[in-house]
Symmetry: D2
Subunit: 366 residues, 4 copies
């Protein structure tokens, strides 16, 4: 259960960063969806380390293999198992982890909870776990794309204190080209350049930074979500806070929305383009927990990477004081690589809710 | 499924604001817990409208009845059904809702999703739905209190732009007395006074405001949560975003944490009071998705109440432009009443995770 | 969780036989279904004791109240809460249960599992718990009836060793009238008479008997079920074995099917009435776990009622030998009253699977 | 969801019989359990075809690889992924399946449900899917063995009409040696010989037979199961009916128990060996849905294999009459190979219920 996400369209991920392989089982996928390993691979490549000079130089081929659930290029409705072999295992780099708890990592909590842990590369808490999420999320994105042209676009709006100007995008839905134009995945060129400089500066200090990702989804139908516990934004929040290094989530107006009065915050309805629309979108595309047909907009906060190449005081497994010096090859800023992961998790939530909505409300006619 | 929350310790809520009753079924409750209707009632009274002159004058007795699952003052392990009769039904006040979609309410999305809705008082989207959450949450809080003295304390840190000073509490765990000293439930007296004035001013304009609630939990054991999807903060985020009017969630350093470098953000381990502790708590009590024994700290953003006593343009059920004037008796600021609800949802998450943790890690000895 | 049944269309039942009330919450019900309390009541009346001279003389009004989820005669898609007050409480009749474990009852296992139990009338193990199942099942039956005219018919084929002749029904789908013609609910008149005589004879001895119920469902679409764990017959088996006093389940040819060779057992396909049909129906309407459009046929074994009006040796709560004499007012044969319960559980499984099937296979078009 | 079994201790199986591999992810496994690939392999070898001259001559190496969740010989609490490569793929043998529906197979229902299917070897309906169940079940059996010495023993009691005498075993718990003494896995030697003769005779006719498996479990604690929907026998019934070719399930006295009166059927309590025991075990080890500490006893009916080496009339994909001649290499009787599968499914249910029981009833002390 703890390694499964989704109710009707679900993924179960497995694998440690330094075991033989890492993977995912997608269960409940609709049949007849055209999908290829190449499509999955393309998204995995976006997530992969070693893409540019601002990410970790660690090379991971991350070559995906589809083991089941696809027949002659189409899904069959049976579980889709996908696997990526781990190739770049350097356990030596992690030997100190056996002896001391890395600050702000999961070492101490894992050890206490389970009484055992695989000390190599963080085990399940490694970002490599997200390979399975992206593999499954790519299938979800394909479903959405083929269903009314639903598109998801995540991008970075802030790295450390370098933020995209509020009006940088205007009303435009950002293009893939603009986002992918730089390795930092901020669609605003000048901001992207400043972000890259900051990341390089921080890396040279052996330090790290975090940032904020915004995600927007357009062409969603009205009706996804539920009034109470399974509000669409609630499941998105869970999805995002389930990602490593995340510290916050907000939808629509978010925390800043609390600075407005009701009369300023309300989205007034109007008849536009022949259907009910809202004049503004402070709701962020959800009202009463249910998508309202406007753009879904949410943001996720990522803390600075915990692993830094500086000596830090900590304690060893017996609780004695010691110092720990980060050694492996790590990202000074994980946020750019998290962009496709955020899209994947959002897509998983949306397809799952679409199926739940259809099950209850579109199965029978009375 | 959409009206159930929790996996092992779960609540299923039911009821519309203007139907005959509203209630909850608590399933999976451990046996032998001492609990009385009076304890439940006390928390419901905290949530109830009409408590003070800054909340809605609507009077709701909200008298709870326990229908099952408790025998001679103790839980039996069978489902606990609790019910509150709705007494103050004034459907007339809502008659206009039948004809027009209230801005930033769930009317439009419900109508489109289900093709039908109970127009009185918002149906399931009414804040009265949270009665069931508080009733169930009170049981969860009792379990926590009897298990190592785990305590939850939620309180308001900001209303509109009036915020508690950052150092108002220092390191102290806020007392119930300080929180309940004013109807606004901010433990810092001067700030509380300013908040109350702001709410009154806004009410006189027929307008509304939102704010931020912080919740802290102490004496939690190490080990609650899971490494991947069921991270403790992920389930807390889902719980909080499942509440009406919430727009954001953050844990520990939250969104502001992204402004720090890794070397500034990391919580260094040390041996204190004979056990492994962190010197700071930017993690907010969770590391790798699992509680680390420090205080759990998170914040929730609530938007301004959508119902305002001003005329607003909108469309009717046929999509024609119209104006809608809020009439019912509504809160200019729901945040104070949300305080016990936030505590309840947090308690539900914590008990559920405690049971999940024990099931996997404390059932067998190898 | 343990008191919930169903994934998308689910019921959560609650209540002890001698508490103030007993009830159910139906979650996930499709909106717009026309349903009335009178329809629910009619099925509860079929389940109720005191219907005839072969059931317990205990009188239970079992008057159902719908508390939520229905607006102007139609379901709204929100949870439907239904409640029946317990009126005929005679705790005195059960006082001995506090002191000794009734043979083949749940007293001992409950006490050991939970460390506490409500000794009046068996608590949750009372057959009164099935009121909630029938209330929920009636809604499911209505959904099925309005969806292609799916009909369920359960009836008794054997009481003790008195069995309906194998060819009593021929190929005909038994009528409600034939089943309800006698209180024993066997559609074959002569057999029904013999069954009634046997039940009366056994009752006069203070003894009890069990029997077998067969259930048939016609007009089901092809495609309900799943290939592996959630085979339609697997979920039906779970549903039936979840009923008190059941000891066995079989589908189609069942245990006797093991006496045939493959060449005798296989259902050959043919083109009949313009669609693919099977010439025989030893599969019982399911192939590979999925409905094949033929009649769904299964049988359930009910043991003789454990409560008998004879003195039986047992042990008390301290494990000391004692004798226990059944006193309450109990059924010498519960099987006739179980007929509507079997139909209800089957209907719940079928609606749930219908929604699961539609979610995966009818939501998207590629 | 449809390919997952279990709530806290769960398996998710994946893979088609003629795809590149087949596998399972075990989620929720307690940490620190000692387990090796060799232990898994030993049980897979029991399930494998080609073990003897009464099973299919198809050779499948079925060599298992553990890809995650085990570190230095012990489980870590993270998901355990296991994979078996498919080596003996002969798609040519199944080419006719593309054109015609095999009688009493899943071809027709799959095609109608999903609109697509992998025609090679039955896809997910292949018995090879059970490899994942046995791999996961072996881990569950190890947990049980290390927890109070809980032992499971399944064996064949009947093949076609050749049944073990009722008193063949007496009160003895059958030994592994007796069961494994012959390839037919019936612990009564003379019956085993007759069964083997029958299977050979049927095979020479190109026909097939089914049979009945009994499973007994000893040393279970009191308290596993739940009073209502999640009765232990209900989840066992679901587990067993989820296996290919099963048509029936019964616990304890089963269908024959309906031939007894209550006074004959009741299991009287007595104080034996210092604890509460029952004098007889018609309950089959469960009372009120909860294990009572006696031997758990249940039986499962398996129909004759659908694939026979005879020509059978059927229809093709367009519904036109045709004939189909079974060709592949199939078992004339699958029941002996189902023995370890039945044990595996039972073990999965028991560990899952053990964890559920502990979560609710052994986590907190009030």
């Amino acid at each position: 259960m703890p390694n499964r996400f989704g109710k009707l369209f679900s993924i179960t991920t497995w694998g440690e960063s330094h075991g033989p392989a890492i993977g995912v089982v997608v269960d409940g996928c609709p049949p007849l969806l055209p999908i290829t390993a190449a499509e999955i691979q393309a998204e995995l490549d976006r997530r992969r380390p070693g893409q540019s000079d601002i990410t970790t130089p660690r090379k991971e081929a991350d070559s995906v293999e589809i083991l089941s659930g696809v027949y002659e290029g189409r899904t069959t409705g049976t579980p889709i198992s996908m696997l990526v072999r781990n190739t770049d295992q350097r356990p030596g780099a992690y030997s100190e982890m056996k002896q001391a708890f890395r600050p702000s990592h999961a070492d101490f909590t894992y050890q206490t909870k389970y009484g055992i842990r695989d000390p190599h590369g963080g085990g399940r808490s490694s970002a490599r776990e997200t390979i399975g999420r992206v593999a499954g999320g790519t299938i979800a994105k394909k479903i959405l794309a083929l269903s009314g042209g639903v598109e998801l676009r995540a991008y970075i709006t802030r790295v450390h204190d370098i933020a995209m100007p509020a009006d940088a995008l205007g009303d435009a839905f950002p293009s893939v080209e603009a986002i992918e134009a730089t390795p930092v995945r901020c669609p605003h060129g000048p901001t992207a350049e400043a972000m890259i400089e900051r990341i390089k500066a921080v890396r040279s200090q052996g330090d790290s930074v975090g940032g904020v990702i915004e995600c927007r989804v357009r062409n969603l139908p009205v009706g996804l979500g539920a009034p109470v516990f399974d509000r669409l934004e609630a499941d998105l929040a869970k999805a995002m806070l389930s990602l490593p290094a995340t510290k916050g989530f907000e939808v629509g107006s978010g925390f800043d929305g609390t600075l407005l009065k009701g009369s300023e915050h309300n989205d007034l309805f109007e008849n536009r383009e022949g259907r009910v629309r809202t004049a503004t979108n402070r709701s962020g595309g959800v009202q009463g927990g249910i998508s309202n047909g406007e753009e879904l907009v949410f943001r996720v906060a990522f803390k600075p990477t915990a692993t830094i190449l500086q000596s830090q005081p900590t304690v060893d497994l017996e609780g004695n004081p010691t110092d720990l010096m980060g050694k492996g090859r790590h990202d000074p800023c994980v946020v750019p690589r998290a962009v496709p992961i955020v899209e994947s998790m959002a897509a998983l939530v949306l397809v799952d809710h679409w199926m739940r909505h259809a099950a209850q409300n579109r199965t029978f006619n009375f």
